[in-house]
Amino acid sequence: MDDASLINPDDWVDQYGDTLFRFAFQRVRDTNVAEELVQETFLAAVRAKERFKGQSSEKTWLFGILKHKIIDHYRRKKHQRSDMNVEDFAETTDQFFSENGKWRIQPINWDINPVEAYEQKEFMDAFYQCLSQMPQRLADAFVHREVDGLSTEEICKVMEITASNCWVMLYRARMLLRRCIETNWTQI
């Protein structure tokens, strides 16, 4: 059986459109861009269907293409947003410390067990909302590292930043996120 015959583009939109869209939307956080990325993914897949070997599922193959499209999107965006750099968020983390380097806004004891965290709806809502509201570039770095588990090297490539900038951005993202959760989580 020809491997290319295993795939059926006519069913893709109904079968995988929503899943691919959600995956893209979580990363780019723009409905129009996410829709375009899904469309580009399907079109690229049609062009490349002869190369589909059937070694992975059709869904995995499409996700692989979408991931590349998302990386391309970030690269394009980086060039459009050259004014945005790591120093833009310096003040946001400096505010947590006094001049002698001690905590000025001290971390609160969350007293939460990771296993039970998902049962605590208020905590998870605060977590999700804070992540959604973070400055996009910091949220991107956080999602790449903590949700997708990319290495520093991979994040540097995707976001076109240096390794030291990557670590500083992740630090600032974590600081903002944990503080935002403390402010918005009603249990504290």
Partner: protein, 86 residues
């Protein structure tokens, strides 16, 4: 000027960095010693580890999926048309 291991600001940054790359042994020891002495930095450490654990669990991915809607009807039709046109 105090050594960085006595400054919460520096230790917090170093600890965050330790989640992204392997620090030299002596730096890891400085961080750990500071966190044993400073309850706020110990809390900060537990908070970051919790966020990492939650972010990487399948449930979090599932929750984020549920909160996003699917393709709009318009986008669905447009994509189908573009596929047919090829």
């Amino acid at each position: 000027m105090k050594h960085w291991m006595f400054r919460c600001k520096d230790v917090s940054q170093k600890f965050s960095e330790s989640l992204d790359r392997k620090l030299p042994l002596h730096e890891r020891m400085f961080i750990r010693m500071h966190q044993l002495m400073c309850r706020y930095c110990a809390r900060f450490r537990r908070q970051l580890l919790l966020l990492r654990e939650l972010s990487r669990s399948d449930k979090f991915v599932g929750m984020r999926q549920e909160l996003s809607s699917g393709l709009s009807l318009e986008a669905r039709e447009r994509i189908k048309a573009s596929l047919k046109a090829r």
